[in-house]
């Protein structure tokens, strides 16, 4: 039993209307609130012919509804000093609303209207497509984004949700998005069913229940669920580089699919091990590659892409001057090999357990971090108490479990290394 129930005991939750799960937590922030949420309907649910449809829909959501023009809506939001934003995702699309507590009822209503009844005007579609296309073209010179995109395409097969499309593919797909595709996708996937709302700040749960019920009930229910994903398997060791002219920094990524999602019994052990390797300034990578050898400003290791039943991947990211790239890569791989072959020791394990527990306390001092944590937990389908129980699970990890996880899932002879910058 977790004797430090910092967070979960302060969270209220209910289902104010069918298909909507509402969570709220009052914090010390006075007079203001953050409302964060998500629903299924991301790019993975789009037809294979055009996975970009959800992306364009997302960009059009704040371009007016059938009742109000975009000018009116934007004025209404901004004269209250508030903000409503939307982000597309692979499985889940998300939204964030911020504002003063006195306006929460109005803003919840407006959020519901923007999501359920967007205008989808042909002129706005043309405008948004032009903007997205420009951003995609600009991304060609972004070394970090390009190296990362390259990695995902090497370690995952086509059709896997963790595999990015190439920029060329995306450019062509965006051009082809039509209004009828947009309307059809919206009708099929935008609705209640797996809809989560998290409100933090100066909020009252009973009042929120009333607002959500008033604004969202009556909206259609959509069928949704995430299909089972076939896990990817690691390849042989492989390196791939993309030359981008005129860049003074090279971005490098090292990765391997783990084959497990974040609910797997080995996940926490592997995650803690990865944190020891590259989770903060006192990690092995920062200590040896940066502080001792002075090869990089920034290097880290993490596990990604393992939510919603996806088989995730282990990832190292680092930046190097072109003339130091080879040394930097070798120094990184040396640390990975030591980590795999020798493992971690008891002192490291205990120290990092303490770090995780204490840093959780520190992170949770902000309303933003709280709402993100509560939402992520809910998206993962876990009970609210898990937010605190997670710390107990970390405390129970043994040295044997952590070192076994490293050896089981990380194979230096199957790593993929990608880089982008002015190197040949």
């Amino acid at each position: 039993m977790n004797k430090n129930r910092l967070i979960s005991s302060r969270i209220e939750e209910s289902t104010p209307t069918e298909g909507v799960n509402l969570f709220s937590m009052k914090t010390g922030l006075s007079d203001a609130f953050t409302l964060r949420g998500s629903f299924l309907g991301g790019t993975f649910f789009a037809d294979k012919e055009n996975v970009c449809v959800p992306v364009v829909i997302n960009a059009l959501l704040d371009h007016g509804t059938r009742k109000k023009s975009k000018k009116v809506i934007r004025d209404q939001i901004e004269k209250r000093g508030a903000n409503i934003s939307f982000s597309p995702g692979i499985f889940r699309n998300s939204f964030v609303v911020t504002g003063l507590s006195k306006d929460i009822s109005f803003l919840v209503g407006l959020l519901a209207e923007e999501l359920s009844d967007p205008a989808f005007l042909v002129d706005d579609l043309a405008l948004v497509k032009k903007q997205i296309l420009t951003d995609l073209e600009n991304e060609r010179e972004d070394t970090e984004s390009q190296a990362r995109r390259l990695l995902s395409r090497e370690i995952y097969p086509e059709g896997h949700p963790n595999r990015s499309h190439s920029l060329d593919e995306l450019v062509e797909l965006i051009k082809k998005v039509t209004l009828s595709q947009i309307k059809a996708f919206h009708k099929e996937h935008y609705g209640l069913g797996d809809f989560i709302i998290v409100a933090t700040g100066d909020v009252n749960h009973k009042e929120l229940e009333w607002m959500v019920k008033k604004s969202f009930s009556g909206w259609r229910t959509v069928k949704s669920g995430i299909p089972k994903i076939k896990p990817s398997t690691p390849k042989k060791y492989f390196e791939k580089s993309l030359f981008i002219a005129g860049k003074q920094n090279v971005d490098m990524f090292v990765g391997i699919p783990t084959g497990i999602d974040d609910k797997h019994k080995d996940y926490n052990a592997l995650n803690l091990a990865t944190f020891i390797l590259g989770g903060n300034f006192s990690s092995r990578l920062m200590t040896h590659v940066r502080s001792e050898k002075g090869l990089t400003y920034h290097i880290y290791a993490t596990l990604n892409g393992a939510t919603d039943g996806r088989d995730g991947y282990f990832l190292i990211g680092g930046s190097f001057a072109p003339e130091l790239f080879k040394q930097g890569k070798e120094a990184t791989l040396l640390e990975v090999k030591k980590w795999v072959n020798v493992g971690i020791n008891e002192a490291e394990l205990n120290s990092k357990k303490q770090t995780v527990r204490n840093s959780f306390k520190v992170k949770m001092e902000t309303t933003t971090a709280l709402s993100s944590t509560i939402l992520a937990n809910a998206e993962d389908g876990r009970p609210t108490r898990y937010i605190d129980e997670y710390l107990d699970e970390i405390d129970r990890l043994t040295l044997k479990e952590v070192n076994s996880a490293i050896k089981k899932y990380i194979h230096p002879d199957k790593l993929v290394i990608t880089s982008a910058g002015s190197i040949k």
Binding site: G81, D142, G279
Partner: protein, 484 residues
């Protein structure tokens, strides 16, 4: 969706360089990207203010209170202390702000303040090497940043570790050791930080705009410094810089969080009182930028895809009476999707994003409007639209509803952007650097008083051609001059 979209509105001059851009790349200020205004949390714990002022704290002189924050001076050495209690969570932020930044550098040692910041994490007289890491082990959020007017070191950590942290900061204030072997590795680290910035078209343009706008004043050069200065820094020059500026009478420490004021002050006294005041006065930076007498223009052309227009105008120092009017003007121009330039440029299909960076600094600074161009749009066309909007405001002013909207936006952002002890300390850090920390507590009140007449007046005074520096970032397909 794309990384470019997410970064589209970032605009900052010589963005405060940090010792670490962590795995999640934390922005120490939790700063949002759209434009740049000051955002401070609203405080309503007034009764605590009254209680604190009546108590005496041995060794300290009470200076003043404002907005729930109390200022004291440590009598022995002139160290300034700001304290605010917040018992909502068992966490505290301890921040040390040295009133030295890249404005204190000269040609030949640009970047010194920042390299010194990196070196401060290495060895300190009474602590083992890399002792700073132990705070990470204890769960601290830790970093340091350098900018134009100040350098800060901070930890947000469980309150039980505050004393150890205070002791460490006091020790490295005058006990840091600068070894050549540490400088040899750290120079390469800093150079990579520089290289990463150079990869970003926006940062590259911003650097050049400031370098062109300021020809004498040290705001001319980016805080990261010029590359050759980074590479040629020496232990001796860093030590000289340290011995000139790193003294308690040139520092404000800020303590925000779950600690009683008396306890916080007694810990500060225990560890900082033994640090002597500077033997010589801290040298002031007296350079004033000569009056600009005509428009300045520049182009940065590099291989790539991104095209940007940046139009900068000189603006007064932070403590000038026109600052708040400029902040409201900047919001009306480009903050949010109902702002004038967003409607003309983004909704008009000419730009993917537009923002105004007008953060006020200790000395005369710049307000720069940035627009990222949609593919195929010409720089001249976007510049024309921006200048036309300026002309419109100078001629006809702005409406009352625009002002109200801007004020509401600023005030709302203040409410939740100052979320948590770190955000409060971070905001105070910038206003300490400006020259008066109460800029922070009085900001909202002054914003509320800005009227239409103020906006028209400052637009006519500052958004004028002879005061401008205009830069284009031009994506070039010609790579023949590039050496790989």
């Amino acid at each position: 969706m794309t990384k470019t979209q997410k970064r589209a509105e970032e605009n900052r001059h010589a963005y405060p360089t940090k010792i670490l851009n962590g795995p999640s790349g934390p922005d120490p200020y939790g700063r949002r990207s759209s434009g740049a205004r000051f955002h401070f949390p609203i405080y309503d714990i007034y009764f605590v203010t009254m209680k604190a002022t009546k108590q005496k704290h041995p060794g300290f002189s009470f200076v003043r209170s404002s907005g729930g924050i109390h200022e004291y001076t440590l009598n022995k050495n002139g160290l300034s202390v700001l304290v605010k209690e917040d018992h909502s969570v068992p966490v505290v932020t301890f921040m040390v702000t040295y009133r030295v930044g890249s404005r204190n550098e000269v040609v030949g040692n640009t970047g010194s303040t920042h390299i010194l910041e990196h070196m401060m994490f290495k060895v300190s007289k009474n602590y083992p090497r890399d002792h700073a890491r132990t705070f990470l082990e204890k769960g601290a959020r830790q970093n340091a940043t350098t900018w134009l007017d100040r350098t800060n070191y901070f930890h947000t950590l469980p309150v039980e570790y505050l004393e150890d942290n205070i002791g460490y900061e006091a020790d490295r204030m005058r006990g840091a050791l600068f070894l050549k072997k540490d400088l040899d590795t750290e120079m390469v680290v800093v150079r990579n930080e520089y290289e990463r910035g150079e990869n970003d078209p926006h940062q590259a343009l911003d650097k050049e705009i400031w370098a062109t706008a300021f020809q004498a004043h040290p705001y001319h050069h980016s805080t990261i410094g010029w590359k050759s200065d980074i590479e040629n820094s020496t232990v001796e020059s860093l030590k000289k810089f340290y011995d000139t500026f790193y003294w308690p009478n040139n520092v404000t420490v800020t303590i925000i969080g779950d600690v009683e004021t008396g306890k916080a002050l007694s810990l500060v006294k225990k560890y900082f009182e033994k640090v002597s005041r500077s033997p010589n006065p801290i040298p002031p930076m007296l350079m004033k930028e000569p009056k600009q007498e005509g428009p300045r223009r520049l182009v940065v052309s590099r291989p790539g895809e991104t095209n940007i227009v940046g139009i900068g105008h000189k603006i007064p120092p932070a403590l000038h009476e026109d600052t708040h009017s400029m902040q409201v003007l900047g919001t009306i121009l480009a903050s949010g999707k109902s702002s004038r330039l967003y409607r003309k440029l983004v909704d008009g299909g000419l730009a993917t994003s537009v923002s105004v960076f007008g953060l006020p600094f200790h000395d005369e600074g710049l307000s720069v409007t940035y627009a990222r161009l949609v593919r195929g749009v010409k720089h001249e066309q976007v510049e024309k639209v921006i200048l036309s909007e300026y002309k419109q405001i100078k001629k006809s002013g702005v409406t009352k509803s625009e002002i109200k909207k801007a004020q509401a936006k600023i005030m709302c952002e203040f409410s939740f952007l100052g979320d948590g002890s770190y955000a409060v300390a971070g905001s105070l850090n910038e206003t300490i650097a400006m020259g008066d920390w109460t800029f922070y507590t009085e900001f909202l009140g002054k914003i509320a008083k800005v009227g239409a007449g103020d906006i028209k007046r400052v637009a006519n005074q500052y958004l004028v051609e002879h005061n401008s520096t205009t830069g284009y970032f031009v994506a070039s397909k010609d790579v023949s001059h590039i050496k790989v």
